[in-house]
Point group: C2
Chain length 152, copies 2
DNA sequence: GTCAGTGCAAACTTTTTGCAACTAC
DNA sequence: GTAGTTGCAAAAAGTTTGCACTGAC
């Protein structure tokens, strides 16, 4: 199942590269492979670590940045911006979900809500061609609520 | 009307400072004043410019960063993260709105949608005490759709 | 063989931090 | 007077860029 997804996204990348006259470098496929091995979010630094560790394929950070832009354009990766670093996430075959972000400890959790999903999908925007969206709900996680209560 | 809001938020700040044993420095009030003169989003650099220009009150960037954290905690400012810089926005008496972000040119526009607003407000999250939220819809703005079409 | 793509290091930008001077209390 | 705040400059963190080398086509 997971392998099948990886094959599919590699094919999508191949088509994208061909269509745009770009080269099929091993780096690009290795990066895609690694990204689709990660569940949830990651930043460039984490990805860099995973590449060396799991994939045994060393790429420079510059190439990671370049390739991610390319993968975003190909519709295979989504970019998020919580905290200080840019966070990324695979987008093919990844369930739509929303994010809860704790304003105290910075913890990010995901949740799903069918009615919310529908409400957003149904929204029509004039003069705008929507491709995807991010909903971030800020507040305090259970731990931090408890911690604040204790403090006072 | 606008002045009344400024008076109210200053009062909220005063209460917040007193409650937390913090000092009522002129810098803090001047920054709050400036922020509540701005419609829409701003980053620290823009705020720095406005301070000098309109308020004739020079503060260091370090103080801006410090004060913004404080104002966020006081519930008077909201932080966003589009693009490379952190963007901020006044939150008191500011209509809830959503954001459309063009993935091509980076332009951010706001829109309102009552049913969407309600759907989000009705969502109950377990183990999480929500305070506010941000919905970012990514896609292509009218200009960029036209530009891409032309190109191909 | 050619030129897109890569790695490296330097540059750049935004944000954080340490410390001396200042000032609200 | 005392500590919380400020400004400055240096440092840190994340990302971009210039350039020589490599390798996909």
């Amino acid at each position: 199942m997971e392998e099948k997804i990886k094959d599919t996204v590699k094919q999508i990348l191949t088509e994208y590269l061909q269509k745009n006259g770009l080269r099929k470098t091993p780096e690009r496929y290795a990066i895609l492979e690694t990204i689709y091995s990660i569940r949830g979010h990651f930043d460039v630094d984490e990805l860099y670590g995973y590449m060396a560790e799991k994939e045994k394929f060393r790429v420079s950070r510059a190439t990671l940045y370049n390739t991610i832009v390319l993968l975003i354009d190909a519709g295979l990766v989504i970019k998020h911006q919580f905290g200080n670093t840019s966070q990324y996430e695979r987008s093919y075959n990844n369930e739509t979900h929303h994010h809860m972000i704790c304003t105290c400890c910075g913890k990010v959790s995901e949740f799903e809500d069918e009615s919310l999903k529908q409400a957003i999908a149904q929204t029509r925007l004039k003069g705008f061609h929507a491709s995807h969206y991010s909903l971030y709900i800020y507040g305090l996680c259970g731990k931090c609520v408890a911690a604040k209560r204790k403090k006072k």
